[in-house]
């Protein structure tokens, strides 16, 4: 279909973008890669009167090394994240997860910032950010603020971003020394996850010292499987022990029942996939 008519601005800086949003009020919206927003507009589920396209803000794009962390511009595309040598070296989980998104076209247009801001419960990037304990830099009329992954994700399609704020960059701590893996389960290769499980494991010899496990599409936002993380701490790095620890992966989740899958099946998948993701991350 065809969206309702809207005005279009393409600012060259974050400040201009924030000003444009403030002027535009509630009816203004940021346009990043358009891979989520344009479908919504085409179906006329939303009809903003102004789109502020961040595509012209060069400073929002790219990956930089900043001490113990990587700083990734919000407008960096999924493809750039997936193929960045810095990301692959210091946060391989993020690169691996970005590479599973949609198809080639989607990865070349869709952005890390767009995915996180859109906050689709089935999106992969929020689970990556949660596992990496990333921090989000937001710019608004009164300056910048930094928000944790946990605080940024509020609810289904809802984040800590105010109407006049722009997500500027995502800071990802370097996770050298951790093993990681993402198990994404989908019906079609290029489709969204029915359930996804991201795992990061640090092990010494035969023991898992510490683990982080996050879930895609098991609730309104990406979830941390804290029960699994606790069970894994100090657990033997062998398949049986890992599977046992992961049997609690569905605890505290609230997956939806829809056309693609029932909640019951999603819970089952979370357990199976968690076992596989952790085993792979632990090199078992």
């Amino acid at each position: 279909m065809i969206p309702v008519a809207f005005d279009y601005l393409r600012p060259a800086s974050v400040d201009e973008a924030v000003a444009a949003l403030a002027d535009g009020g509630e009816d203004a919206k940021v346009l990043a890669g358009g891979q989520s927003l344009i479908p919504v507009l085409r179906l006329r589920l939303s009809a903003p009167s102004l789109l502020v396209d961040l595509g012209g803000v060069a400073q929002l794009r790219g990956v930089r090394e900043e001490g113990d962390a990587l700083s990734i511009g919000a407008m960096t595309t999924h493809d750039e994240v997936a193929s960045s040598p810095l990301v692959r070296r210091h946060a391989p989980l993020l690169a691996a997860m970005a590479a599973t998104i949609g198809d080639r076209q989607v990865r070349h247009r869709g952005t890390l910032g767009g995915s996180l801001s859109h906050a689709d419960p089935a999106a992969d990037m929020p689970a990556a950010a949660a596992a990496l304990e990333a921090r989000y830099v937001l710019a608004g009329p009164s300056g910048r603020r930094v928000v944790s992954a946990a605080d940024f994700a509020v609810d289904l399609f809802t984040t800590a971003l105010a109407d006049d704020e722009v997500l500027v960059e995502i800071q990802v701590p370097k996770m050298d020394g951790w093993g990681s893996h993402y198990e994404k389960f989908h019906r079609m290769v290029q489709a969204w996850a029915i359930v996804g499980v991201a795992a990061m494991v640090r092990r010494t010899d035969g023991v898992i010292e510490s683990a982080r496990v996050t879930l895609t599409n098991m609730g309104p936002t990406a979830l941390r499987a804290t029960a699994v993380e606790q069970a894994l701490a100090g657990c033997a790095a062998d398949r049986a022990a890992i599977e046992e620890a992961c049997s609690v992966a569905a605890e505290g989740t609230s997956p939806i029942d829809d056309l693609t899958a029932s909640a019951e099946y999603r819970r089952h998948l979370a357990r199976v996939l968690a076992g596989r993701a952790v085993a792979a991350a632990a090199g078992v």
Binding site: M1, I2, V4, A5, L43, D103, F185, R187, M188, V189, Q190, A191, I194, L259, T260, A261, S262, Y265, H268, L269, V272, L273
Partner: protein, 794 residues
């Protein structure tokens, strides 16, 4: 083929049409424009069943750029009813089908009102200003409930949801025994469900109607420009000679454009009312909602056999969902399968019964294979069941029942005469390509070790009927039209050739295959042949493209027309060479005097001589043109063996196709690359039915698979490598030897995949997984072991 040398036929020519198609130089209907063109948008019902209390289009009229807006009530007197050309029984219940709903809504997405504006966006914007007052009613959606006493009725004035019951009984027809009177040492009863599918052609449907000065030109993304022209004449009262229909480049159809659509009629009405050309191009969501759907039937089968594996009889009962109305050939679609439930086998008795039922859903009509995939699915699934019942290998149980090479021509229990085939050869080749024995060994190992990933092998030994169709048979089946096809060949003065064909390609590559045939028949270069089609002004007659008919029927007409031209060229050449036509042989692209091969004239030489006309033999008209129309005596029967190996992750239910082998016998092959492409595409669509695609309505009758997010055709990454090979048993019933390949892959592949999944899960007691076999369904089938809920009745 009796052309003396075949340089082109059989060659893997690149397709002529592809340069145009892949470089954006195509003429899709939506790309075309004409002076003064207006654009139409359609308001569609959000309800599956409702009474329309009122429609007010006045506010839309005052929106910017809007030229006209009207509803069903505004055109009720003139719009007529959309046609069903295949009323399969004398007493079929055949309700009216208005292009625009007038007072009742019978399915989600039914057209209610339209806006015509100067641009498409304005037309869409203005739809929001149309006010419709609906009184929602309870829809009837379930097939068996629709048939139950006291059910809500889709058409209350008809007093029933039952449209027709059509029966074939081999005892009554004299083609076999009574199904109740044959040996029944083993009896299998099964229920299979063919889910509802949506033809996912690439180019959404689009139509332009230019009313001219009462001489209409219509461009439509259709498979059937000729049939459409006839119906435009019949439905609108416009004289047929004042209507020109053009199907320009058409981006796929799969049966989904074998239709006279409401949208085509509504656009016509808009153009006629306003007196200006109007275009309508649907959105993808509209395709899914209101383009016709396919399949959707419940199949109950009872198979009887002896303990040695000989099947004695098969009895099939279908309940076929017609949707809310009868489509152009909707009632006949399941009947096309009626002659195929016996597959490649020699059964003694056969009974078939199909009941067509109305529900508050989008109507169903042909989708690639039309009737034959359903038949093949059922027989190939149940042959596997028989193998398990008897502890036989599934290939062996088939071998014991299929027609042997030396038994052709063979009259089947359904009354068809299969002219030729070699099922052993195709199967042996497929088994070797798959590595059947090794995979069976691996399967044993995985079973023994309790591997969470189990291996399964599925077989489908199919045949189908192609080349639709002998006109006499169509008449006997109460179809409104015939099944002949036509071709014209004209040799231009410089020796170039124009071919006009009555078929209407929409992606198949006819321009290439036709050129190859003509090149050999007339000894001209491949590039010197131009194939014209799809415009009723150049191609005034034809019956278009569907049912794997283009080559198997249209190709024969083409050969016959070529031969008329060649015969005439021979007479002219003989005159030029001062010899008798009998002294000439046609070889190396020229007529040569036997024994003096240097004395030669080509068809091009004859063409120029005819053009000059200075010195022609007596009684020869100065043209080198010919027409031929061919009406087949019978169908053609391609066959083959498809084998599929799957790995099923029993923990998640995920199915991965490990290897897929397709050995097809499509008779003589004109272009192996095109044949392979058809098989690949067909197999992809068959796999899609087995694993991925399903149109779903919720309990309120809302189509919930309204986009490609929910309705999921596979992409390349979802499909396996497909190993293709062929055997070649030419058709004996016509001069070209071809059998048709357009639907074979779709027909064969679905049961091969599902058989493989069920085979993998046999150790778990699984006997069926409903299609599409999504991971969750596979997982549930495994978990349901030991309960009675899976796998139908036994």
């Amino acid at each position: 083929m009796t052309a003396t040398d075949e340089r082109e036929v059989g060659a893997a020519r690149r397709r002529k049409e592809d340069a145009r198609l892949i470089t954006g130089r195509t003429r899709w209907t939506d790309n075309l424009t004409v002076p003064g063109l207006l654009h139409m948008a359609i308001l569609r019902s959000p309800f599956a069943s409702a009474r329309i209390v009122s429609v007010d289009t006045s506010a839309a009229l005052s929106r910017p750029n809007v030229v006209a807006a009207f509803s069903g009530a505004d055109v009720a007197d003139v719009q007529g009813s959309l046609p069903c050309a295949w009323p399969v029984t004398e007493d079929i219940v055949h309700p009216d089908r208005p292009p625009l709903a007038v007072d009742v809504i019978r399915h989600h997405g039914e057209a209610v009102a339209v806006v015509v504006a100067r641009d498409r966006a304005s037309a869409m914007d203005a739809l929001e200003a149309i006010e419709v007052d609906y009184e929602p009613l309870t829809p009837v959606l379930d097939l068996e409930e629709a048939l139950a006493e006291g059910s809500t009725l889709v058409h209350p004035d008809k007093g029933t949801n039952l449209s027709y019951t059509w029966v074939f009984d081999s005892a009554a027809a004299g083609t076999g025994a009574d199904v109740g009177a044959v040996d029944a040492e083993v009896v299998l009863e099964r229920r299979y469900v063919q889910q509802r599918l949506i033809p996912a052609f690439m180019e959404p449907r689009s139509v332009i109607v230019d009313p001219g000065a009462g001489d209409y030109t219509i461009w439509s993304s259709t498979q059937i420009p000729h049939i459409l022209r006839v119906f435009y004449a019949l439905l609108t009262g416009t004289p047929e000679h004042k209507i020109r229909v053009i199907a320009p480049d058409v981006g796929g159809g799969f049966g989904g454009k074998l239709h006279v659509t409401p949208e085509e009629l509504i656009t016509f009405m808009a153009a006629r009312r306003i007196g200006r050309p109007v275009k309508y191009t649907e959105t993808r969501s509209e395709t899914m909602l209101a383009g016709h759907h396919g399949r959707d039937m419940i199949q109950d089968v009872r198979l009887t056999a002896r303990r040695d594996g000989t099947v004695t009889g098969i009895s099939v009962k279908l309940i076929a969902n017609m949707g809310a109305y009868l489509g152009l050939v909707g009632p006949g679609t399941p009947i096309l399968g009626a002659f195929m439930y016996n597959g490649i086998y020699k059964f003694a008795a056969y009974r078939f019964e199909c009941t067509g039922v109305f529900t508050n859903t989008t109507l169903t009509d042909p989708y690639r294979g039309a009737g034959r995939p359903e038949a093949t699915y059922l027989i190939e699934r149940v042959m596997d069941e028989l193998a398990v019942e008897l502890g036989l290998d599934p290939i062996e149980v088939r071998r014991r029942n299929w027609i042997k090479k030396e038994e052709f021509p063979f009259t089947t229990v359904a009354g068809l005469v299969y002219d030729s085939g070699d099922y052993d050869a195709a199967t042996d080749k497929a088994l070797a390509l798959l590595g059947y024995d090794e995979l069976r060994k691996e399967q044993e190992l995985r079973r023994a070790s309790g591997d969470p990933v189990q291996l399964g092998i599925g077989t489908s030994t199919y045949t189908e009927m192609c080349g639709l169709a002998p006109s006499r048979i169509l008449g006997a089946l109460r179809y409104a039209a015939g099944g002949w096809e036509t071709a014209s060949v004209r040799v231009l003065p410089t020796g170039k050739v124009e071919v006009v064909t009555g078929v209407s390609p929409h992606g198949q590559g006819h321009e290439t295959a036709w050129s190859q045939i003509v090149a050999d028949e007339l000894g001209v270069a491949f590039d010197d042949v131009e194939v014209l089609h799809g415009d009723t002004r150049t191609s005034h007659k034809g019956l278009d493209t569907y049912g794997s008919r283009s080559l198997a029927v249209g190709g024969i007409a083409l050969v016959e027309a070529c031969r008329k031209v060649r015969d005439k060229a021979r007479t002219v050449a003989a005159h030029m060479l001062e010899c008798s036509p009998d002294d000439l042989e046609f070889t190396g692209g020229a007529f040569r005097v036997r024994g003096t091969p240097d004395a030669a004239k080509t068809v091009a030489d004859a063409a120029f001589a005819v053009f000059a006309a200075h010195d022609l033999p007596d009684g020869i008209e100065p043209t080198l043109d010919a027409d031929a129309t061919f009406d087949p005596e019978t169908f053609s029967f391609p066959h083959g063996t498809h084998l599929c190996a799957v790995e099923v992750d029993t923990q998640t239910g995920h199915v991965a196709i490990r290897k897929y082998v397709a050995v097809d016998d499509v008779g003589k092959v004109i272009n192996p690359t095109i044949v392979e492409g058809q098989v690949h595409g067909g197999v992809a669509q068959g796999i899609a039915q087995a694993l991925h695609e399903e149109a779903v309505y919720d309990e309120s009758g809302t189509l919930v698979t309204g986009s490609f997010v929910e309705y999921t055709p596979p992409a390349a990454a979802d499909l396996p490598d497909i190993v293709t090979d062929r055997t070649e048993t030419p058709a004996t019933t016509h001069p070209l030897g071809v059998k048709g390949v357009g639907e074979a892959g779709t027909i064969a592949s679905t049961p091969a995949v599902v058989n493989a999944i069920v085979d993998a899960l046999r150790p778990y007691g699984v006997r069926d997984v409903p299609m599409p076999c999504t991971p969750e369904r596979v997982w549930r089938a495994i978990r349901a072991v030991g309960t009675e809920t899976e796998g139908g009745r036994s």
